[in-house]
Point group: C2
Chain length 596, copies 2
């Protein structure tokens, strides 16, 4: 079936249901960062495989909305004869819809694939112009998508307390107490991460995100109804693991459970930014009272307990050794014959092989960014869209990658010399690294938010007239999503106080279009600083131990304290990683960690 035929089929279905428009977002019903193949409706309809976007189909035209990362890719993938391209951010598709439709028109949407917040904003906005927003009973695409992939059937994993550090009962009772105090009957979860954290389970339903896709209701008494494919738990004793008051139900039973809550006029809490509109509508139509609040798992999940922190430390040491083996191999490969036989793709594969040699390694925590020369100037470069660039022609290489381990999640970026870097490249690498060091050295009192610390990573670049156009750090999960909230380090809006156990990335960068890109990233965990003075302070403990490329450092741009920091860091890298290496890898590490 061609995209033209698919589009025609959808338009036919629209006509049948008297819909003048139909919205196809990228999201699935869990509204998470990653989606499984069976939910790639946007790709099925348009051919566009990016990680964000939306298509709006009208009778005579179709508009495809993507963000700045994908303006090139969308033209390669989605036929211009079928789709008009628009900017997802600067040109919201709702505004576009309003400009296209007339009073009395109807817009079809799948309420599973939109947040309740989106619905509560969109519905009145359209109604104002006499346009009605109509939830379809079945997604128009699903009816046409005949060779649609089946949901994954990978078995679930019960994460032992040796890894989780806290039994599900303890997590559940703590949150249930808050629900009881607020006179809430039940909390609805439609995102996978909080549920997997709450029940200490994991899965393989999505690449890079080790979760069982599921829904859950946490009741005031601490009991949980988990809605997931029972086949994934066939050989497991979930209730023995998570608690006898955790019951497993097919996803098909979720509607009945929500309706039951409605029938007894229960007060049900949900996070309108993460809960899909379908579940909220089902609840309220059945008579439930909706209470909006932040996801109550978000903060405790972000504050890793000592067992999770220790696990992350261990995972990072193994991960560090794998990266060091890769960098040692890369240095050797560059100096061997025919470096051009390697390209960004083969380098990424090689890196994954080194990680995979590790028993606890499960999978990458995100798609590796493997970027040579000018490609590294694109923050979200993907070597597998188009032709990977070959080794041997550029001065520097940027590799941003991570691993999912049973005891933690890693995320590291190194920028290394693969040719002869010039003074300008060294200056900017050193300024970026200096910002990384200044943030890594920060101490701060309770109540300090990421937006207060962000400037520490930027000031060295700002001093010379440079900046980078992304946040400085994001939260990282424990054998969960490599991107998690609520904390982050960015110029604005990161207003969650940083506190003990939160893991954040520290990744300033610099990007010169068509020339080169630089990023220096370690993960760090917030810990008490235990220094003297009047008040307790927090500090950032570094979790990542891999050398920064000394060949790119120009000490003229550093103060003595930065040289001390780098030498001490490299001494720690040697102490922690060298026991895991041998032979040429060990020789490589010795020179890579030498004092400046």
């Amino acid at each position: 079936m061609s995209h033209a035929q698919r589009l025609a089929a959808i338009r036919h279905a629209m006509a049948d249901q008297n819909l003048q428009a139909f919205i196809v977002p990228h999201d699935d019903e869990h509204l998470g960062e990653y989606i499984p193949p069976y939910a790639e409706r946007l790709a099925w309809l348009t051919g566009f495989t990016g990680s964000a976007g939306a298509c709006v189909v009208l009778a005579e035209q179709a508009a495809l909305f993507v963000d700045g990362r994908y303006t090139v890719q969308v033209r390669q993938q989605a036929p211009a004869s079928l789709f008009n391209y628009h900017h997802l951010i600067s040109e919201p598709y709702l505004d576009w819809l309003l400009s296209q439709l007339r009073n009395g028109d109807s817009v079809g949407f799948d309420a599973h694939l939109h947040s309740q917040q989106w619905y509560e904003n969109a519905e009145p906005k359209l109604a104002e112009q006499g346009i009605s927003l109509v939830p379809v009973s079945e997604n128009l695409i699903d009816a046409q998508w005949h060779d649609r992939p089946q949901p994954g059937t990978n078995p679930a994993l019960l994460l032992s307390q040796d890894y989780s550090g806290q039994h599900s009962e303890a997590k559940r009772s703590r949150i249930a107490q808050d629900l009881a105090a607020a006179n809430i009957d039940a909390q609805l979860f439609t995102q996978a991460e909080p549920i997997n954290w709450l029940l200490n389970i994991r899965g393989r339903d999505i690449d890079c995100l080790p979760v069982v896709l599921s829904f859950a209701l946490l009741h005031q008494d601490g009991s949980v109804q988990l809605f997931a494919d029972p086949a994934k738990f066939a050989d497991l004793d979930l209730s023995a693991h998570s608690g006898s008051d955790v019951t497993l139900h097919p996803v098909a039973e979720l509607t009945a459970a929500l309706t039951a809550l409605g029938n007894k006029s229960a007060r049900v809490q949900l996070d309108p930014t993460t809960a899909n509109a379908w579940s909220a509508l089902t609840l309220s139509e059945a008579g439930a009272e909706l209470v909006y609040a932040d996801d109550p798992c978000m903060l405790p999940k972000a504050c890793k307990n000592p067992v999770e922190v220790n696990g992350s430390r261990a995972a990072h040491l193994r991960d560090g050794a794998a990266i060091c083996r890769f960098l040692a191999w890369l240095d050797a490969r560059v100096s061997q014959a025919n470096p051009e036989l390697e390209d960004e793709g083969s380098l990424a594969d090689k890196l994954e092989q080194f990680r995979a040699a590790n028993d606890e390694f499960v999978e990458p925590s995100f798609s590796t960014i493997s970027a040579l020369g000018p490609n590294a100037a694109m923050c979200h470069y993907r070597h597998d869209n188009g032709t990977p660039r070959r080794l041997g022609q550029d001065a520097i290489y940027l590799v941003d990658s991570g691993g999912q381990y049973l005891d933690g999640t890693t995320d590291i970026t190194r920028t290394v010399a693969v040719g002869t870097p010039n003074a300008e490249m060294k200056k900017l690498f050193t300024l970026v690294l200096r910002g990384h060091m200044d943030l890594a050295s920060a101490r701060f009192p309770a109540g300090t938010c990421g937006q207060q610390l962000d400037v520490l990573a930027r000031q060295p670049l700002w001093q010379e007239g440079y900046n980078f156009d992304h946040g400085t750090g994001h939260g990282v999960g424990h054998y969960l999503s490599v991107h998690e909230g609520p904390q982050r380090i960015s110029p604005k809006g990161s207003q969650t106080a940083l506190t003990t156990g939160m893991i954040v990335s520290n990744e300033p960068g610099y990007y010169r279009e068509d020339a080169f890109g630089i990023r220096c990233e370690n993960l760090q965990v917030v810990q008490p600083a235990n220094i003297g003075g009047d008040i307790p302070m927090f500090a950032l403990e570094t979790l990542t131990f891999v050398p920064f490329d000394r060949r790119l450092v120009d000490t003229a741009w550093l103060e003595p304290k930065h040289i001390d920091w780098l030498n001490q860091y490299h001494a720690q890298v040697w102490a922690k990683i060298s026991p895991q290496l041998s032979g040429t890898d060990l020789i490589w590490l010795e020179q890579a960690t030498r004092a400046l």
Copy 2:
């Protein structure tokens, strides 16, 4: 009349008007930071002379609400037999009122003395419990206050364009254009600063704040009705100065002007946080449509034009010379016989004498904080409440003072040795100064807010486990209020981008209760940095030139760049101030500015 008699008289008037409560705030009808003597109603009723607070009178009791600065002072000034003391912030008087009154009760208030925002919050809050908020036709206190001071009659001053740098017509037409674009008929101003800025006038109606207390209406055509005491302009040609479309009216005509706008259903814009409720009620009752927006003078007033910036530079050089003379005198005085003959009061007077020797000096820009030893640990210490502490017994002295000059406003804090400071004092002074230097050295791109830079001033203290419990910097006016918005430098909420011409203080500190206090404050103006790189950056140009006390610096707590900064700063101080000094003052400056 005793305070008991005054209280009784108010209660009698309350009974006559069937009011179960009457609110006496500190504010006057302009809701500015400073109030004139005739508006000191709170002091008349209670004896409390603090700069913030409120009294709520009930039939059987009276409650006096003050903030943390005044918990001691209020007990000394307001008889405990007549008033219960409460905390203004942690115990809002509205909540207290709700706890005391019954359904059907009436609360009297003077709508002139409360913001429209306060009224719109308080009215429904009381109404919910059946309590009505009743604006009194005449303030109950005014009727009883027989020896009430008359409003000042000091003549107004027309600030020439040599000082203002921009004609009133230009200021008015620019704002009027925005009003026209928003289909606003008129903008109401009830605060003095924006009016005095807009018309390039100044006055002497309040100590420290050189304004003509007034109200004004700026119309869509750029014309202004100024409501102020015409006697103050008797010998002046206001319209020739500010523009022929600026008309002067007695304040008594304001009501008629507001009613006239109402009668033609005009759209009138005001800032509900600064406009008093009386004017808003008068407008809306007469039929005007109220439009709420930030005061449109606030931002242009904050962004000083080149003439204002040059004036501020010049004022600071003269001010710097005066402070240097004072510090030279202080050093000598300490080493002379009977230093104990000087106290915090005489030191403050001496400082003012040095400033007053200057022709362009008008008055202090705020009440000098002159604090010896432990008194300096109180951020808002006032030596004139209680017995001033005597010189000769303490190691360090903190003096925070400022001047109003025709060409600018100054604000400077120096902490100096007047005895033998110990290592701990030197360590903390050096950490505070280091924070000051790090902030002073900042560069930042357009869009950067004060809350992003605040951490630069705190990080040196945070590194050692210390902090200070106030903002790092506030905006400063041009021959106007020493405290002005919208920009400031503080951990949270300062979300106005810093841009060219904004003057901000840089004043980190450290306060050890019952021991000592430290603050290092210069004023700085935001200017383009004109460096290379990819994007334009702003930098902070220092306006204040007075030595920091080298005797309190412990270089062990500084990096080389800080020593360079201090030496370069002191070289500038010598270059800019030495031409104004002679004799022992010059000798003092030479050693005070010597390189470390």
